[in-house]
């Protein structure tokens, strides 16, 4: 090979490199095309995506997927209608349900409790909020009668009694409603009743009564407000 030929070869190689580099630089400077394929980490995913693409592009598949979509919409509407029906009926039951009724007795007033069909029983629980100054003095539990009674007391001698128990058939609870006032309320979305019994010079006794399933819960305290009792009740875990 002559020196001239060698020179020419080098120049041709150089020019070719420069030319190709220019093309590559120019193409890289151009904006990305709209269609860009994603990077698949595994071959399986790539094949799945390819088969999906084929499915979506084929006219038969498109028709089939349209049919499928219509069917899915119909099913969704049916399910939605059923949920609506169920919600309306549950709401109706909630509206009709009265968890107690009072019989006016000449000597006393008796309150009959009815289990709540809309919730589950929770007999044993923990009161996570107790007003300042009260300390636990007594806990009575009877598994046989399915009852629990926790007593708290403060330095002034005020008693806070938290009681839970099973509602017996035709369950009867005695409250002196002739000297008391009944007020409907709610505790954590459960129906509840607030009773204030006036003991004259001895002061008031406040009772908050609510039902979960076939269990009643009762929080009573001397001279306590409805808010305070509700807070105790709502913080029962």
């Amino acid at each position: 090979m002559t020196a001239e030929e060698k020179k020419l070869r080098l120049a041709l190689e150089y020019a070719r490199e420069v030319e190709l580099s220019q093309y590559i630089e120019e193409s890289e400077a151009l904006p990305q095309p709209a269609k860009s394929l994603p990077y698949y980490r595994t071959r399986k995913k790539m094949l799945a995506a390819a088969s999906n693409r084929q499915q979506t592009t084929s006219p038969e598949r498109v028709n089939r997927s349209l049919k499928g979509a219509r069917k899915a919409v119909r099913t969704a509407l049916l399910v939605a209608a059923l949920i609506l029906l169920f919600a309306v009926s549950a709401f109706a039951i909630q509206q009709v349900y009265e968890f107690y009724h009072v019989v006016d007795n000449p000597t006393d007033s008796d309150v009959f409790l009815t289990p709540d069909p809309n919730s589950k029983s929770d007999l044993f629980g923990k009161y996570t909020y107790i007003p300042d100054g009260f300390r636990k003095t007594k806990t009575d539990r009877s598994l046989w009668y399915r009852e629990e009674e926790i007593t708290y007391e403060n330095d002034d001698g005020d008693l806070l009694v938290c009681r839970s128990g099973m509602i017996t058939p035709g369950g009867l609870h005695s409250y002196d409603t002739e000297h008391g006032k009944l007020q409907k309320t709610m505790v954590n979305a459960h129906p509840a009743m607030f009773i204030i019994i006036d003991h004259g010079s001895a002061g008031n006794n406040s009772i908050l009564l609510w039902i979960t399933g076939n269990t009643y819960h009762e929080v009573s305290c001397n001279n306590s407000s409805i808010e305070e009792l509700k807070k105790i009740a709502e913080n029962r875990k």
Binding site: E4, Y14, S51
Partner: protein, 187 residues
């Protein structure tokens, strides 16, 4: 259009080729726009199609090239295909004229045909060569760089040997002219 090229591939290769197509479609467009005049839009389309057919045919070879060098390799393929396509469709008429036996003999004798490079600096030659149109350089590359015979080039490009001689002669004379006007070393 892509479907034409990927039809014969299996699923995996088809996806690879689709990714390859997306990566290099801009490069092919740049090369075609550089080498084919804008007043020949149909020829540009044909060239693009030729490029992708060639790429699909030599896809396995392309994949075997390391990723760092693949861009240049692919750009080289695209450029060669584009120039070939251009020659097939455009330059054939211009090359119809016959060359004299003397010119052919001079070209055959490489030392004689390249004697004008004797006193030329390599840097000047490089600069002049980069300014030479790519389609003229292609014939020189085939003949001098890849050491293909005129018959082989003619067979590959499906043209007469005279046409190849003519291209080489034109390339050298253009190079000589550029060295004369720009380099100043050529007498």
């Amino acid at each position: 259009m892509l479907l034409l090229y990927v039809e014969r591939f299996d699923d995996h290769t088809r996806d690879q080729f689709e990714q390859f197509y997306d990566t290099y479609i801009r490069l092919s467009e740049v090369i075609v726009s550089k080498l084919i005049p804008a007043n020949r839009p149909k020829l540009r389309e044909d060239c693009l199609q030729d490029i992708w057919i060639t790429c699909s045919e030599s896809f396995e070879r392309i994949l075997s090239v390391p990723e760092s060098e693949r861009s240049k390799y692919v750009a080289g393929i695209m450029r060669n295909v584009t120039i070939d396509c251009f020659h097939k469709n455009v330059s054939r008429d211009n090359l119809a004229e016959e060359l004299s036996e003397d010119v052919i003999n001079t070209l055959e004798d490489r030392s004689e045909s390249l004697s004008f490079l004797k006193d030329i600096e390599q840097l000047d030659l490089n600069a002049a060569m980069t300014k030479l149109p790519a389609n003229m350089r292609k014939a020189l590359e085939d003949y001098y760089l890849y050491d293909l015979s005129v018959e082989e080039i003619a067979q590959k490009e499906q043209v007469s040997t005279h046409a190849i001689y003519k291209r080489i002669e034109r390339g050298l004379s253009e190079l000589r002219l550029r060295l004369k006007t720009e380099g100043g070393y050529f007498e």
